[in-house]
Amino acid sequence: MEDALWAGVRFVHVVSAMVWVGGQLTVSLVVLPLARRILDGERRSTVLTAIGRRFGRLTGAVFLPVQLGTGIALAWSVGVTWASLAVPGHGRVLVAKLLLFCGVMAAASLHGAANARGRARLARTMAVTSLVASVGVVLLATLLPRI
């Protein structure tokens, strides 16, 4: 029973990450190019801004709480302690993953801030940074022998 519960928590953690990274990929690789090609200037910017805002809200309201909650719970379930984080191996991979995730969040926030101030180049750069580093987080997650 307990195993099933933890499998469920792990499932939520993975699915949430999948949706978030997949969402970024979809926006960057599918929505943006099409929007550029099909929509004219003003509508494009309206649509893209709306997409960005909605994605940002979802990130803050759903994705982050879910990831942090399930992530902390999973770490607790496999017995991760503050001290074990300092040790090479599982602890260090987890720390690297968390640091990279912080980097992703920083890039995502910068993306939002840059968009708000109309700095399109920085915004676009940070969006791609966030996307690539997110994939990096997934890579590090696969290195954790037991998620």
Binding site: P88, H90, V128, G136, L139
Partner: protein
């Protein structure tokens, strides 16, 4: 070794203070005023001509002093060099007083000079306080500070200035580039110089400090690249730039994630648990000797040297502490433990003397069913020993021929010398011996042979033994034939030392003597044993007397992991009579029909005794552990002399016919693994 350390110290000084230091100081005569946008102060030219000779002389003297083990010469040289540096600083300070430093370039260079002065002070203290061969070891941890604080900052300052010049592009562009390169320079300068000394902290704080230093450097590199890109009018698409930044972040995270895990097998997943254990290094002992963890646990050892001499702790996964002086401590991050590990003090001889420990995993006894890796057992040394034993059996060809020129240890026991006081010198040496046909093995010996010299005397005789340790580790000696307080005579003596061991033979018997330095198993397993024969008063005359000391054979490097595991498990590669497995198969013991032959047998172990048997005959006399079990003329006969570990006795027999009579340990596993030889009995 010491000479090499001295040369390294000299080499480091020549490189850092000479090659790097001199070129920086020379450049600063002109670069410093240029950065401050002022003229060179008067008199600089004269100084600039004189300083090099002062600096160079000081440096050469210092390097020579370090190389040739002359501490005070080295110190004088360093003083001279430092004086030269101070002289160089005079015009630099005068320039700065005329035109106050402003901006990133000037302050970086200024900060770097503070680091140079600090480095010289530390260097002088290090040379004054350490023997030249210890100077490098003392300074080594500080060298990164010098490289970053002095060399790195001078480079950073110069580049900040020189990049503007190189990029050029008119006053407006220069101002724009200048503003770009100096972005956040005060914060960067302060962070770097505050974080740099903190990098010396152990553990996480030190790592964080290094991260801060690295970020400061990377920010400058990023700014410089941006400035160059701007000047060259290079534009990079946000997608490429974003991918680059994301990839760099990922690679940094990956490198960090995988750091410190190299060499670890991944058979067991880490549990995320951390075990911290306090370990005390004592007098030839590590406590606790065994630490048990769950496989996959991360292990941290808090190591403290509680002994009066230096020790360290080294694990066979490569983790090790520095050498700790008395009372010093260190934190040893062993890492994730997936299989059992051995730990030992790597100071010469200490491992063999018993400074070992074992980290066991709790699946030690779990056995094959839970082991998914296909070994018959999950104990790593057992599985390693398994493959190793196959190789050893291949190397151990008992039916093979002894090497040309091999001489068997003479098994003939001469009568006791006609004296009551026996004075014997026994020199301990670590040598090599043919322990089985065609197989040479390092051995530790009393007197150059395994077993050591066989001493013989009568009741009441006094033996005065001078033990001289010509080995490379501590050794000792313990004569079972004497009764005395072990404290002094059985003490371990260091290489080069000697002791006197005096005992009176109050009881008859066939006695063992052996090295009693910890771990005794290792000292006995590697050959440190011998025998003392004290004749019973009524000992009859016989035609021939032989002595056989039975011991175990453990192949491999003495004290090495393989051998240690074998010894611990009590699984010798073979058994030997008088130091060679199957040796007397190639050099039979002669006898003649009708002769009465007495064979003295002593067992050295360290883990097994014997059941001594001669094929084709029986014994009519058995003397075991100081008493006759059987005498000639009685009705009974004996087939084997059974001896536990560290026991002795003799048997007598009369060979009925000419022929070849094998003698064996009738525990036939041991016989087949080398505990056999034979008597070649000829016609009278």
């Amino acid at each position: 070794m010491e000479a090499q350390q001295r040369l390294i110290a000299a080499h480091v000084h020549l490189n850092l203070l000479g090659w790097v230091g001199l070129s920086v100081l020379g450049t600063l005569f002109t670069l410093w005023p240029t950065i401050l946008r002022t003229r060179i102060v008067d008199g600089t030219a004269t100084l600039a001509r004189r300083c090099p000779s002062l600096l160079l002389t000081g440096l050469v003297v210092a390097a020579a002093g370090l190389s040739f083990d002359a501490r005070w010469v080295a110190l004088a040289g360093l003083m001279l060099y430092s004086a030269g540096v101070l002289v160089v600083l005079v015009p630099l300070v005068r320039t700065a007083l005329r035109e106050r430093p402003a901006g990133a370039a000037a302050w970086s260079v200024a900060a770097s000079l503070v680091w140079l002065l600090a480095a010289l002070v530390v260097d002088i203290l290090a040379v004054a306080g350490n023997a030249p061969h210890e100077v490098f070891a003392a300074l080594q941890p500080l060298i990164p500070l010098f490289l970053v604080g002095f060399v790195g900052q001078v480079l950073l300052g110069s580049l900040t200035y020189l990049l503007l010049v190189v990029l050029g592009g008119g006053p407006k562009a220069v101002r724009a580039n200048g503003a770009l390169l100096e972005r956040g320079w005060r914060a960067r300068l302060v962070c770097l110089n505050l974080a740099l000394p903190l990098t010396m902290l152990p553990g996480a704080p030190g790592a964080v400090a290094w991260a801060v230093v690295l970020i400061c450097a990377l920010v400058f590199v990023a700014l410089a690249m941006t400035a160059v890109a701007r000047a060259r009018e290079v534009t990079v698409s946000p997608a490429v730039l974003g991918t680059g930044v994301g990839a760099v972040l990922t690679v940094l995270a990956l490198v960090f994630a995988l750091s410190g895990t190299a060499g670890q097998a991944s058979g067991v997943g880490p549990t995320g648990q951390l075990r911290t254990v306090e370990v005390a290094l004592g007098d030839m002992v590590i406590e606790p000797a065994t630490v048990t963890v769950d496989p996959g646990d991360a292990l941290v050892l808090q190591v403290r040297n509680e002994d009066a001499q230096p020790h360290d702790l080294r694990m066979d996964n490569g983790a090790r502490t520095p050498v700790l002086g008395p009372g010093e401590s260190a934190t040893l991050e062993v890492g994730v433990v997936e299989d059992s590990l051995e730990g030992w003090c790597s100071v010469m001889g200490h491992r063999a003397a018993g400074m070992t420990m074992t980290v066991l995993t709790t699946d030690f006894d779990a056995g094959a069913p839970t082991d998914q890796r296909g070994h018959s057992g999950s104990h790593p040394s057992a599985s390693a020993g398994h493959t190793e034993s196959t190789e050893a059996w291949e190397a151990l060809d008992l039916s093979g021929e002894m090497s040309r020129g091999w001489e068997p240890l003479d098994p003939v026991l001469p009568p006791a010398p006609d004296v009551e006081e026996h004075e014997v010198q026994i020199r301990v040496s670590e040598s090599e011996q043919e322990v089985a046909p065609g197989l040479r093995q390092p051995v530790w010996t009393f007197g150059g042979t395994v077993p050591g010299p066989i001493l013989r005397g009568g009741l009441g005789d006094v033996f005065t033994i001078t033990l001289v340790n010509d080995g490379t580790m501590g050794h000792s000696i313990d004569f079972h034939a004497g009764a005395l307080a072990p404290d002094e005579p059985m003490r371990t003596i260091a290489p080069g030392e000697e002791l006197t061991y005096r005992f009176t033979a109050r009881k008859a018997g066939a006695w063992l003597y052996h090295c009693s330095t910890k771990p005794m198993t290792h000292h006995l397993a590697n050959g440190m044993y011998g025998a003392v024969i004290i004749d019973p008063p009524d000992l009859a005359e016989v035609d021939r007397e032989y002595v056989l000391v039975q011991g175990e054979l453990y192949l491999g490097e003495p004290g090495g992991a393989e051998q240690s595991a074998r010894i611990r498990d009590g699984r010798p590669h073979g058994w030997m009579f008088n130091g060679t497995a199957a040796g007397y198969e190639h050099a039979p013991l002669p006898a003649k029909v009708g002769e009465r032959v007495r064979v003295w047998v002593v067992t050295a172990g360290p883990t097994s005794g014997t059941s001594f048997h001669v094929v084709g005959t029986f014994f009519d006399t058995v003397y075991k552990e100081g008493a006759y079990l059987l005498r000639p003329g009685e009705d009974g006969g004996a087939q084997a002399l059974d001896l536990g570990v560290a026991q002795g006795g003799f048997v007598e027999t009369v060979f009925p016919q000419a022929g070849h009579y094998p003698f064996v340990d009738h525990d036939l596993r041991r016989a087949e693994a080398g505990a056999h030889g034979h008597f070649a009995v000829g016609e009278d």
